[in-house]
């Protein structure tokens, strides 16, 4: 087991920088998701940790020791790739025992350790099968087993579930989570799927445009995004500017209580998640009025677009009774409104 730490890491290909000034750590036994859209540099970071990409600057440390100078085969790190990439010329057991064979373990020890990890990963009885004789999910399990059998200090998973279909993917998410909990192997896994990151990991690091925007627990990133970009990434659709007056946020379409509000005169940006917006027929306290302009049924919920003065507000509600043209009370529960303080330079401008 081990702790992984990246310090001021800069990565790139040719003249093209990919990641700059990246610092974060994964604690011993922790499962961290490196989340971001395609092209954000997630896989490049993973490949740098594995030793396939040389950092331009910064350090990579495992258990406090720098590993930048070590080739992949000498790092206490094993990477599981997006595709299972099992060796087609070996059977399942030989695939899983490959790394142990490379380390020179005797056949008996290899057999015992392979059997144990196959039991752990639910592959018992499939050892003699050829790679093409097992399903996609079993292939990914075999790839995971092949990595786990080496007992690495750090396990790297590069979107290992992205090639699976939706049902299998769900099963595998639970499976990987369970295996990580049992083995307590320090794990850094890359995904572009926010729900996968939120449900599988202890902590999430969000990478946008080659920069780390926020690291925290899944709840922190989801409910307490550090900035509007993070909020947008997690499905934030309602953003509105306002002015703080006596603890209330005054917007173009109404004012409401804002417990997080900074002092009077500030002009922050506020957001509320669509599922936190409440719709009602009766106009009660703290509500503003909006007219339904569009609705979309999405299975478990209905998405409703409302025009509140000149602003469009999106609500995601379990009720599907709303119709276009209806005038409704739109409620923003104060505890669900997230306020992003005005950046200092903007604040200075607005004061002038």
């Amino acid at each position: 087991m081990g702790e992984l730490r990246l310090e001021s890491l800069a990565l790139g290909y040719g003249a093209q920088p990919v990641v700059q000034d990246l610092t974060f750590s994964v604690a011993d036994g922790e499962m961290m998701a490196l989340l971001g859209p395609s092209g954000a540099g997630k896989t490049t970071i993973l490949r740098a940790v594995a030793g396939f990409v040389r950092p331009r600057a910064g350090r990579i440390l495992i258990d406090g020791r720098p590993v930048d100078h070590l080739p992949p085969e000498r790092r206490a790190v094993v990477m599981v790739f997006q595709k299972a990439l099992l060796f087609p010329f070996l059977d399942v057991a030989a695939n899983i025992g490959f790394g142990l064979k490379m380390q020179g373990l005797d056949a008996g020890a290899i057999r015992r350790r392979v059997a144990a990890v196959m039991e752990l990963t639910g592959l018992a009885g499939l050892g003699r099968r050829k790679v093409h004789e097992i399903s996609g999910g079993q292939q990914q399990r075999a790839a995971l087993a092949r990595a786990l059998v080496l007992q690495p200090a750090v396990l790297l998973l590069d979107e290992p579930l992205s090639s699976l279909d939706a049902n299998l993917r769900q099963q595998m998410r639970e499976f990987v989570q369970q295996i990580q909990a049992e083995t307590r192997v320090t794990t850094l896994f890359v995904t572009h799927d926010q729900s996968e990151a939120l449900m599988m990991s202890h902590r999430v690091s969000l990478l946008l445009d080659g920069r780390l925007r926020q690291t925290g627990t899944p709840r922190q990133l989801f409910y307490r995004p550090a900035d509007p970009a993070v909020a947008r990434f997690f499905g934030g659709e309602n953003f509105f500017h306002g002015r703080i007056e006596n603890g209330r946020l005054v917007t173009a379409f109404g004012s409401f209580r804002a417990p997080e509000a900074p002092g009077n005169g500030h002009r922050p940006l506020a957001t509320i998640r669509p599922e936190d917006v409440r719709l009602d027929l009766e106009n009660g306290d703290g509500a503003v009025t909006g007219e339904v302009t569009r609705t979309r049924f999405e299975g478990l919920a209905t998405r409703v677009w409302l025009r509140c003065a000149d602003t469009t507000v999106v609500a995601l509600t379990p009720e599907s009774r709303w119709t276009v043209g209806q005038r409704l009370a739109v409620v923003f529960p104060p505890e669900r409104v997230r306020i992003f303080p005005e950046p200092p330079e903007k604040r200075r401008e607005s004061l002038v």
């Binding site: 030793g51 085969e73 790190v77 060796f87 490959f98 079993q138 990595a147």
Partner: protein, 304 residues
Amino acid sequence: MVSGQINGRDVRTRAVGWNPRLAVLLAPALAVMLLLFGGGLALGALQALGHLPGAGMAELTADHFTRVLLDPDFPTSLGLTFHIALTSTVIAAILSVALALALTRWAVSSRLVHFVLQVPLTVPHLVVAVSMLFLLAPAGLIARLAAGAGLIASPGEFPLLVNDRWAFGILLVYVWKEIPFITLMVLSVLQNAGGELLEVGRTLKAGAWQRFRFILLPVIAPSLAAACLIVFAFTFGAFEVPYLLGRTYPMSLPVWAYRSYMDVDLAARPEGIAIGLIIALVVMGTVALSVWLNRLARGRETGR
């Protein structure tokens, strides 16, 4: 009906049985194969068995095969033919694997590589053989240049590299001609799957030699074996290069077959064809042996 699972889903496929439409569609290709190849082979076999009415021979007999097989020169010719085919194939295979690995590692632009490698493929063997003769003969270009540079006293001192005992000139032609073919076959496999599996190997702690032995070789083995078999079968049966660059005695089997077939004495023709059929049998036997060895090796690899 065959059933199995792909990505956890049940999949059923119907085995292809007798299908008249399919037979009609395949008929033109099968007819060409059967008439031209099968017919030629049958006619050849008939002539090798002595059925040559034009030369006054009508009786079927195995005497021509027996005469060839019991000829004291046969083992020598067979050995020489094996030496030429096997040595050139092995050398070309080793150099091709090294070249393919180097090209993959240096990530050389694939279009340029393919162009450079395709050049020798387009040159006929006969042209290469004649070029080698001009280059390597005792009075050839290299001998004269060496003499001119003072490396040897006269062109006559230049080592014998054509019509020589070890068939050096013949090997050189075949190696030069076959390297591009084998390299392209191996390169396509390496470019498709080799790189990713090598990275897996590195992350699984395999060193450079282990990656070559336990990943690269098994990955390229099927293509390499197929390419080598094609090269072996071709070089074992080809006559023009040994005819031009080989010694007059002993002859390789294809040269012997050609000479017998072209002999002014028509009675020698059945022997020539018999040698041709023996060459075909040896090649088929080699293919069968290599397939068996390949299966054995795979079984060992997977522990079956």
